[in-house]
Symmetry: C2
Subunit: 704 residues, 2 copies
Amino acid sequence: MTKLEKLLRPESVVIIGASSDEKKVGYAALKNMIDCGFKGRLYAVNPKAERYNYEILGVKCYSRVSDIEDTIDLAVICIPARFIPSTIEELGEKNVPYVAVITAGFKEVGEEGAKLEKELVELVKKYNMRMVGPNILGIIDTIAPINASFAEQTPIRGDIAFISQSGALLTGILDWSRAEGIGFSSFISIGNKADLDATDFIEALGEDEHTKAILAYLESINRGEEFIKICSEVTRTKPVLIIKSGRSKAGAKAASSHTGSMAGADTTYDVAFEKCGVIRADNAEELFDMAFSFSCMPIPKGNRIVIITNAGGPGILATDAAEREGLELAEISPEFEAKLREFLPPASSFKNPIDALGTAQGEDYGRIIELACKEENIDGIVVILTPQAMTEGQETAERIVEMHEKYPEKPIIAVFIGGESLGPAIYYLKKHKIPTFTLPERGVGAMSAMARYAKIKNRPEDEPIPEIEVDKQRVEEIFKKVRAEGRKTLYGTEAKEVVKAYGITTPAAKLAKTSDEAKHIAKEVGFPVVMKITGEGIMHKSDIGGVKVGIKNEEEVEKAFTEIMENVKKHYPNAESLIEVQYMAPLGRELITGILQDPQFGPLVMIGLGGIYTNFLKDAAFGLAPLSYKEAENVLRKTKSYTLLKGVRGEKPSDIKAIVDTMVKISLLARDFKNDIKEMDVNPFFAYEEGKGISAVDVKIVLN
Amino acid sequence: MTKLEKLLRPESVVIIGASSDEKKVGYAALKNMIDCGFKGRLYAVNPKAERYNYEILGVKCYSRVSDIEDTIDLAVICIPARFIPSTIEELGEKNVPYVAVITAGFKEVGEEGAKLEKELVELVKKYNMRMVGPNILGIIDTIAPINASFAEQTPIRGDIAFISQSGALLTGILDWSRAEGIGFSSFISIGNKADLDATDFIEALGEDEHTKAILAYLESINRGEEFIKICSEVTRTKPVLIIKSGRSKAGAKAASSHTGSMAGADTTYDVAFEKCGVIRADNAEELFDMAFSFSCMPIPKGNRIVIITNAGGPGILATDAAEREGLELAEISPEFEAKLREFLPPASSFKNPIDALGTAQGEDYGRIIELACKEENIDGIVVILTPQAMTEGQETAERIVEMHEKYPEKPIIAVFIGGESLGPAIYYLKKHKIPTFTLPERGVGAMSAMARYAKIKNRPEDEPIPEIEVDKQRVEEIFKKVRAEGRKTLYGTEAKEVVKAYGITTPAAKLAKTSDEAKHIAKEVGFPVVMKITGEGIMHKSDIGGVKVGIKNEEEVEKAFTEIMENVKKHYPNAESLIEVQYMAPLGRELITGILQDPQFGPLVMIGLGGIYTNFLKDAAFGLAPLSYKEAENVLRKTKSYTLLKGVRGEKPSDIKAIVDTMVKISLLARDFKNDIKEMDVNPFFAYEEGKGISAVDVKIVLN
């Protein structure tokens, strides 16, 4: 670990606001630092140092930071909020690199607090310091070790790091983990994350040799692009598992009222996590089941597992779970089967799940596991045991541990269904770092997460974003003109020009002021044409008779022009309106694409089924801009419509290449103008037969 | 309990095959009967009774059953399979009403075993006895109490009944439940269920005052209709929770190889469970979380909950889970809020979740819970506690128990996030029958299951199946004719006549042998017409040029006739073919309906989106025939297409009443001819605008 080394594993620490009053946070933090076995230099600061005889709990105490002659790596602050700014200045003057502000009463309590918090951030920046918090439980690291927190306990030493936006959740997990025997390397409360946030810690822990898996409980992510960049790198070497809460609408409401932070829309988080290889846990139980397995077992090579059991029922439950979770049951090779038949009763099941029957002894389990470890087409092993009359729980547990030691490259998960009589065996397994569960589904779930991560870890390098020649300047001009006219919404003709500048096919269209102009344009763009009213503030164009389609000749153009103008006057007597005359593109498969803006992660590109089905089938998928060709295709594949586009019922396939190309171009537009485009819709967007391209029939762009 | 009373709570029991050899099942069963505290008369039978001095483990032992002078309620059989038939005869002669056959080696081991099992069933029938098993762990009932099993332990007394098709799973759950402190009333292994099956036990336990919830692990259900009938009744008084394994394809394979039973298709189980109010658990953990809550807490009145917490993070996790699970967060009334403000710090959150902050004491929890218990718009309470510096775990637990005793009608679920320090408080809660979980999601899941059951319990009476006048005789005639001609597939014209006989609108159509006949028919049915080749074995009619649409006059009929015949001859030179001439119904919203047969549950009616979208969107829903109007409408509502049918984008709604009516009629046809119709498709089936009905354009029926 190079980043934040002196924060998480400091050589000298000062507790500012240290106290001998057991009820005070300053007492707990100092006591924890002592009790955890911190090996560095520890100091206390309290303005009433004299009253304590310059010593609290045996630690040297100073009236003020500046009195300490030593250099300080980390200052832990537990004094009332209002005194903190001046303390930060003192620390800054002393060149202290890191501060952890435990004190609450900042952004989370309202405007006053937010102001004070802003002040802290400015001071910290001024002195080139980095700050954790404010409003945190503290920082715990079992490697250093340090426990600069007011937690009641210190975690067991282990190799999972846990970053949490909720301090109370940390205390709960800590208490639970000690009972379960799960250990942690770092235990970090980020609180209001006014300066250092989860991304900083993920980056630092990504480089930490003592940390095998990084877990986080987050309510929001601020620096979206940075988060994606860091996680993309870290997930290539170790798993990053996150619960992002506020998933539900109601939850999001609670999240924002809680830490005053704006939670992003949920889709964006799913898209972002997928992009950078973060595994999203649905709940805390899943998070820790995964973490426990990752910390104990190697990553499997693939998703083919074998289930070994002494009873049919649990084997079926595990099989069901495996299929649900995307794991594959490995084929049992004839050679493997032959070797099993040498010692298992003939009534055993030699398919997968391997059912060794209720008579299976520890020795039998050991032999089956050993054979499975040697099979090349088996990536992971799930061992299920039910306590039957002849079952040897402890003996079986010992064989599992032995086999894991002998074949450490093959992940093994144990499912021991029981409690009272199997308790000691379960304890033995956990103690020997075999992930052990009581019920098949959770064991299989943990194995599945490992297999998913194997795929993430070994994913190919990101394809570069294509450099396509675009006319950026033209788009700038159009936007400038629109803004100059005091508009936010582009005319359809302008919006079409924008996509055209990015190389997207769109039917020719122009605006006409008079019937003669309209006729002229119609001849230019080619019959048949669509004529559409255009004007600031005109809504529901079709409903008011402002749109005419399938106009075949000049005569019809004239008639349509008059009719549209009359229709529109009825509803908008004062509107200054023009009529858009557009070549009527032939019908194709109706799709929709567009751009959404996410406050955290920037622009997203959407693709989905268009037309009447859009709203009720909601068949759409999203990708973060910019997209490579491969990414765009992967997004498209996520829609159900993809099957349809590939051609069904003997129909010719649609031009998928052109659709993907369009998505990439839209994503470049989104990237290049992310500060301009508020939202964009291409709806409908016709996809034609393979090789025949697409047509962006109707384009809508709204600027910021 | 009136049914199976003497089986589950017998007054006299004999263990046949009792033994003093500790390794034998006959020893374990006898020992368990003694150890569990059975209060009735207990006997042992062993052919070598003399050698044992007519006594085993202090229980009187006989050489043969007939020697026992007492009447026997239950005979538990542990002797080798081949000796069982003669023993059953002896028991039959003695009028023993119930036998439990623990011995394995029947259907599950192959053909020989299946034959022996069949023999047992016949003997049992002959003597009017009822049998559990063979191949079971045994029967345990903590109310009687009896433990006629070879399990290593006896469950804690409680009020959950558990029926399992897997004996080993029972032993695992038993071991686990003792460690968790969860109690059971009955613990029943049904094994090969050659005679008594899960349905019999659900019926009996449904009437048992000692059982508050019925759980089952099932791999298959045999008497589908009976199962539905019984469960429909039982679920009106107590919850029935089932894990049906073999849910996945691979799982189903394992299930059938395991107990030799055919697992039904999974959709059918979902449909069937919903029909009769059974709650399906996805996994064992969920099953027991639910069961624990049902056994401890009253059923909530609705789905509005309040979450009370001392930390924001876990509150948000619970909120997310609540939304996912369909629970509603109750609005906190101004009066409620005012009362909370009297004692909670102002920085608390007075919205739902109520966050009483980390300083909340046990007393505070007690007051909030009491206020929540009194709120009419709160149906259930989830209490979350994280162990912070000032947290009073034990005190809070005691207040929860106290409030539950004071307000027993309001369900409370506790979520105590912790382990080591909170352990004693968690133990206290569980001991006092407060369902307690470590993580918010599981607690909320259990509450949600209770709310779901509240809805099931209070559901309105089933609407009667409508009596519609149908021409059943006409359908019988058609089927008879088809069979007489050696066909299984009906001609399109015949299939249309069938649906017409059941009052379903279908376009007029007739078969023509000659061009003249075709012209005549066309005039009769009305132009435009569709002409379609018809003949046994002719496939891909459209592809070979066997279908012509939009034929407007006699001239076109003649031309089409010649062309179709020529096209078809190229592919089927020897086919005897006719041409169906059908009125071409105007286009409507394209739907699909039809009939599927399920081996366990009988015919199902399907409804879904038709046309090109059918296969790739898979927007279909199923109902078990026959359907009432209400049931049919509920099935239709499950499709996404329902939104479309109600009218989108300003389109007129489709004739939903006519669609529902058609579904009901199809379901009556399915019921009336369940032994004849193998499969049926109405595809497409056009739905017109409201009030304009439907048209079954293409009907396909295949007979058994």
